[in-house]
Symmetry: C2
Subunit: 492 residues, 2 copies
């Protein structure tokens, strides 16, 4: 075996940490709470970026770049925003180091204190809206549809690789519009882009819905979210899209002249997904042997492992594998031949399983003679012998099938772990088991808060387009009337 991974049953949390580190995705850095994303992990993130970026651009969004630093005073402008964001963040106070007068390395130069402190962006609404003020004069300047891929910093006390780190990578879209209606439509459009991406590329079902007012983004009138279920039954918020109303435009005095010549405040959305998606990908699909990557995001889709004893056998097998590699690549697949000669096939098998490569092909001298190869699929761990003739099409279709199967497995798991609950005692028992509970809620923040205190469960979302939820009833906690069910769960 390659590196040992804790099993999910034994310790789900340790299993996750093992996968991240042992599959070479990321590791802790020398800086508290900041991670190093290793090449294999970064390659998955790059694939996510590339697909999402293309999807954004199809909706007319353009990329841009705004400063890393935000003047401290900007945080005071939008009252709700400052309450939600300005607390735990990295503050730059000085702009110079100097040699320690005592000769012990370097110290901060006390004379280089900034007049106004700068905050490393935890999110960029404020700096972007202070910029949009210069870009927007008339209705002809609208809409503005910008996105940026960047790093942000939130000084989290308890961090976990990918799920919650002080620095993380993300994209943040910020759009500006002339009407409330167009703005709300954009917020909905973007959350659906996220849902499509997570379903089709990450092979992970999500529920699209509104956040309750308690869980809204600081400064938003409405927050839309996609919620996914992990294998321990906990929810993971995978992306959010905010309808910000005119709050930021008012804070930064961004007005436009409409077609009638009247001055109006501009309407805003913002929306983002982050390297947290990596955490969702790992936790949703991995098994006790390691990662299970959907082919759409796998940096290596097919790995070829030669079996041989003699140098002659090695050359013969590798020659055939080179041909196969070319034929797979011609169909658009990424392929690696693992020709390391200091490791046994069994070790390599375990390593590529750990790394979640969707298809593994082994060939030895006997396969050469028979014109066959052994094809192993990562999702089901099934092996089959297949003829080399036509193996490119076979693998092409197998990858398709794996993508679908991973999605369906996750969808079945969710189906099994989502249930209606109408009784408070039952709620308290059921929520221990994990999964999503579909419950009536009286719509008050007080009830939500009490449920959270007693059970650690929060309202993950008020689903959109779910006929299951559209029914009248009474609140599972207060017994007051309710017009629709919402989703409760414990969450990452």
């Amino acid at each position: 075996m390659a590196k040992e991974v804790t099993s999910r049953a034994e310790n789900y949390s340790q299993w996750y940490n093992d996968l991240v580190v042992k599959a070479d995705l990321a590791e802790q850095s020398a800086v508290r709470g900041c991670m190093v994303i290793k090449p294999y992990g970064y390659a998955i993130w790059e694939k996510m970026q590339s697909v999402l970026d293309g999807m954004f651009k199809k909706t007319g969004v353009q990329n841009a770049y705004f400063p890393l630093f935000i003047p401290k005073s900007f945080f005071s402008r939008e009252a709700e925003h400052v309450a939600g964001f300005a607390k735990e963040c990295a503050v730059v106070t000085h702009h110079r180091l100097m040699n320690d007068p005592d000769g012990k390395g370097v110290v901060v130069d006390p004379s280089a204190r900034l007049e106004e402190e700068l905050i490393v962006r935890p999110t960029s609404e404020t700096i972007i809206w202070s910029t949009y003020k210069n870009w927007i004069k008339s209705w002809r300047d609208l809409p503005i549809l910008c996105n940026q891929w960047c790093n942000v910093v939130r000084w989290e006390m308890r961090t976990r690789l990918f799920l919650r780190t002080a620095e993380f990578l993300w994209q943040e879209g910020h759009t500006a519009h002339a009407t409330a209606q167009e703005t709300e439509a954009k917020a909905h459009e973007m959350v659906q882009v996220y849902a499509d991406f997570v379903r089709n590329c990450m092979a992970l079902p999500v529920i699209v819905g509104h956040k309750s007012p308690n869980e809204r983004f600081a400064g938003a009138l409405d927050t839309l979210t996609i919620e996914a279920m992990m294998q321990d039954g906990k929810a993971l918020q995978a992306g959010t899209s905010h309808f910000l109303g005119q709050n930021f435009a008012k804070s930064f005095d961004v007005q436009f002249t409409d077609k009638e010549g009247k001055l109006q405040y501009v309407w805003a959305t913002s929306w983002g997904v982050s390297t947290r998606l990596m955490g969702a990908l790992i936790m949703a699909h991995g098994d006790d042997n390691g990662l299970v990557l959907p082919p759409a995001l796998a940096p290596i889709q097919v790995v070829l492992v030669p079996i041989y004893k003699t140098d002659e056998e090695r050359s013969a097998v590798l020659a055939e594998m080179e041909n196969l590699k070319k034929s797979f690549e011609a169909l658009g697949h990424s392929v690696k031949i693992d020709d390391r000669d200091n490791l046994r096939p069994g070790f390599k098998f375990a390593e590529w399983e750990l790394k979640g490569v969707p298809v593994r092909i082994a060939m030895g001298p006997r396969d050469l003679q028979n014109g066959t190869a052994e094809v192993h699929r990562r999702d089901t761990l099934e092996k089959a012998s297949a003829p080399v003739e036509g193996l490119d099409r076979y693998v092409h279709e197998l990858l398709d099938d794996i993508q679908k199967n991973i999605y369906e497995k996750a969808a079945r798991f969710r189906e099994t772990n989502i249930r209606k609950c109408d009784d408070w005692e039952e709620f308290k028992t059921e929520i221990q088991k994990g999964g999503f509970l579909l419950c009536h809620w009286d719509g008050t923040p007080e009830t939500e808060e009490k449920i959270k205190e007693e059970t650690k469960a929060t309202i993950r979302c008020i689903p959109i387009d779910s006929c299951v939820c559209e029914e009248e009833g009474t609140c599972v906690y207060s017994g007051r009337p309710s017009r629709r069910r919402v989703i409760f769960a414990r969450a990452y």
Copy 2:
């Protein structure tokens, strides 16, 4: 006319600033020294990134991501590096804001002082080599070939958009090797990748050479550079690749067991290009009408401007343009139809010239009748009538021709402004005129320093593979013997 641009002759520096701002590439932000890269500018940078990233990957390089912050103590580890880098940088001292007790917005929470200050990375050698220590045990772990695309901060006092900003975007490659020879070869390979990119994509000739010891990167044994000539005759360093020897491995104690079982320090390179390339692109090719973008990097390669009086004419022309657009896109070109109905064609022409779009096509009702279009090329400002039949191939070849012509024009300009100089009095006169001077130099830092003091000229590089430079002579300043010429110029 669209927005007025200062002419180069009148004020070259103002011309540059005008182009950056009026062509919507970038602007100053609310944060001193930090820029906002606007969508049109960012689209050019994205094209640069995409081409370079592909070139890096072909050499076996993989992307990764390392923390934004570097513990202050890391800067004391490599003595030369700290001298060169640790001075002007952004220092994070606190991790929390709080509401001002006086009710005036937010203030830094004095109780949230970091134990050790964090520096926003000005470059990442130290944090990366502290990480590599965990990755490298044996010769089998080498080489490591990592690159990251990220933001860095250097607290520059005088900033200029793209050329010198406090925060900028770049890529930094960091490789680790077992032998000095392999490492030097990698440093040379990467500087040649940069040279290829700048010549072929940016259409800009460069001279590849070594930096003199004075101008080397802090901590490097050798710095390779590509130097380009701007239209005012000044040099611009467009990319560098460093042979770092074992300096960082020794500072961070990174050793490997070689094939003979002996412990050895690891060898290093690093190499980078930044958004400064945007400055080079603008200054090398722009003219008094605006940007001149090489087709390989133009976000819009072809713009179509309809000419019409009536609605009927408008629909007929736009219908034909949609067909043309599709045919150009089928050949891989990016195309925009400028159908804004509140602007005159002349205004649009000027705007797209300002933005440097390589090819502009205008069509009116008469063109429709004749089956022709008016094709305007940005580089020479020439207009020609061309048949609509076969216009796709015509434009395809025209774009090729424009790419070549822009390069050749820049090459001719450089040829005219590069000359040998063997007399100190002549040097002082000639250097005023701009351009590169090929001079003998005695090889001492003292002479280099004195020449800089007296003329503001520095040694841009000691060219590699230049037979013009390979001759014996005497130093233009000291008269001492010299074995080769080097390039002197004033620089950005």
